[in-house]
């Protein structure tokens, strides 16, 4: 068995709403989960049970109250994202963790092509040749995800929900990062594009990525999963 790329050990999460009389909303009381290279773990559970919260804890935009979230980076060193400094997290996200969120958030004027190609560029690198090859690869991804060529030079603000979602997928999967977090990547896609995303997930697994995903469509989940995990297992008994 491979050494896991992602390990969650006794992770707990409670939201405290200070402006609502310090109301406590417990979500997880004990997450133990390991994901190795080449695995695709599909999170199951009714909505509101914390599936997206779990992905956000790993990506560290949500902060855990206790436990460890170890991600093995490019340097083969495991970093606890619950304790990591902002600088370490920025580097980890650039090199190691790809996260397809439910919504595309971008600067209004940037074209779809630039948004995708920029994911391949290291910050501070303005090398025109590297940019050229990043654009070539970005175009392949946009074609494969059936974004019409006439849209490539336009900012995605006016695109349909499904088009924006495909830009988001291209942008976050184009760089072959070792760990992928997918939050409903096929939610508003038609059958053909859904199949393309399933293929992309298979390809990512084949190159050795560890994947954790949420899919509202059971068939998609079954098509990509190597293992199913129910998030209700991670919640306290009293809930």
């Amino acid at each position: 068995m491979n050494k896991p790329l992602l390990q969650l050990k006794a992770v707990a999460k409670v939201f405290t709403l200070h402006n609502q009389n310090s109301l406590q909303i417990p979500v997880f009381d004990h997450i133990d989960l390991e994901v190795s290279a080449g695995e695709c773990v599909v999170l199951d559970g009714p909505s509101g049970m914390g599936k997206s919260t779990l992905l956000k804890l790993i990506y560290a935009n949500y902060r855990s109250n206790s436990g460890q979230i170890l991600v093995t980076g490019a340097d083969a060193v495991a970093l606890d994202v619950a304790q990591a400094t902002p600088r370490e997290l920025i580097a980890l996200r650039q090199q190691t963790i790809g996260y397809v969120s439910q919504f595309l958030r971008v600067i209004p004027r940037v074209s779809a092509l630039d948004i995708v190609a920029e994911s391949l560029m290291e910050e501070g690198m303005a090398d025109p040749q590297l940019w050229e090859s990043a654009c070539t690869e970005a175009k392949q991804w946009l074609s494969r995800l059936r974004i019409p060529e006439r849209l490539w030079s336009l900012p995605p603000a006016t695109f349909s929900g499904g088009e924006q979602q495909r830009i988001n997928i291209a942008r976050n999967m184009i760089k072959p990062r070792p760990l992928l977090l997918l939050d409903e990547p096929t939610a508003s896609l038609d059958a053909a594009n859904t199949n393309t995303v399933i293929e992309l997930i298979h390809e990512a697994r084949a190159r050795g990525a560890a994947i954790v995903g949420i899919f509202h469509d059971v068939h998609v989940g079954q098509a990509v999963a190597t293992r199913h995990v129910s998030v209700t297992n991670f919640r306290g008994v009293a809930q």
């Binding site: 939201f15 405290t16 709403l17 200070h18 402006n19 956000k56 560290a60 935009n61 949500y62 902060r63 902002p86 600088r87 370490e88 997290l89 920025i90 580097a91 650039q94 090199q95 958030r105 971008v106 600067i107 209004p108 004027r109 940037v110 920029e118 560029m121 290291e122 910050e123 501070g124 690198m125 303005a126």
Partner: protein, 262 residues
């Protein structure tokens, strides 16, 4: 290069405080800024954002604490221990300061070209043709028609003035730029253009930016990290999406829940 590939911070702020009489304007603020990083300072009016910005930009000496900047030839140096001449040199070479109101950062009665060339002339550049070529290049980079090079900023719109102010600051290729609410007071379409420009400059020049803003959506799109000020103190700091998606401090929670979806 990712920000991680640098081993020392560009700016190091240690426990700086500032009082005005009995009023505490700034209470023991500390943070490090690394090359290429964008740090947003957010908070409501009167929370100390601008005092913090002015204090770290050598414009307002703190009562306590230290501000250090990594000068090009000698590591971290206390900016308030420098001579005034050193401070002035820093302020017009390695630093930029973009004011909320462009009229505060521009010479309104001289041409756009002269506004851009001024910092270079201050450094001893005298060749008129070269200065004009550089000014033309910078006007184009901030998307001002080069035909307007001889017009004064008085004849420019608010958005053009703000872009001119940015060009004037960046002509010496500074490593750190301070910005005080640079996008407020602009139409949203103009604001989008400015955000796009700032993002490109940050990416391509490895420019570090400290930006004061009350607009959390601007912070979300531009800033890697954020500090939240409340009553003169930094109450929370971290990655921008951590603070916006999972704020921990009561004041940050109030701030985030008070705006429409940043």
């Amino acid at each position: 290069m990712s920000p991680r590939s640098f081993s020392t911070p560009l700016l190091r702020v240690h426990g700086i405080s500032k009082n005005y009489g009995h009023h505490v304007a700034l209470r023991s603020a500390s943070f490090d800024l690394w090359p290429g990083e964008v740090l947003a300072i957010v908070g409501e009016s009167g929370s100390g954002k601008t005092t913090l910005l002015n204090t770290i930009a050598a414009r307002n000496r703190p009562d306590q604490g230290r501000v250090e900047f990594a000068v090009r030839d000698g590591g971290l140096q206390d900016i308030y221990a420098m001579s005034q001449a050193q401070q002035r040199l820093l302020a017009r070479t390695d630093w930029g300061f973009v004011h909320q109101n462009p009229a505060d950062g521009l010479r309104m009665d001289v041409s756009a070209g002269a506004n851009v060339g001024e910092r270079l002339m201050g450094l001893g550049h005298r060749h008129y043709g070269k200065l004009r070529a550089i000014a033309t290049d910078w006007l184009e980079r901030v998307e001002i028609d080069a035909n307007r090079i001889d017009d004064t900023p008085q004849m420019f719109s608010g958005g053009m003035r703000q872009r001119l102010q940015i060009a004037r600051n960046l002509v010496t290729q500074p490593r750190l730029v301070f910005m005080d609410e640079p996008t407020s007071g602009l139409d949203v379409s103009v604001q989008a253009r400015l955000l796009d420009l700032l993002r490109q400059l940050n990416r391509n020049m490895q420019l570090a930016v400290v930006i004061v803003t009350h607009d959390l959506a601007v912070a979300r799109l531009l800033a890697h990290r954020m500090v939240v000020m409340h009553r003169g103190a930094v109450v929370e700091s971290g990655l921008t999406d951590q603070l916006l998606d999972d704020p921990q401090h009561p004041y940050t929670q109030l701030l985030v829940s008070s705006v429409l979806q940043p």
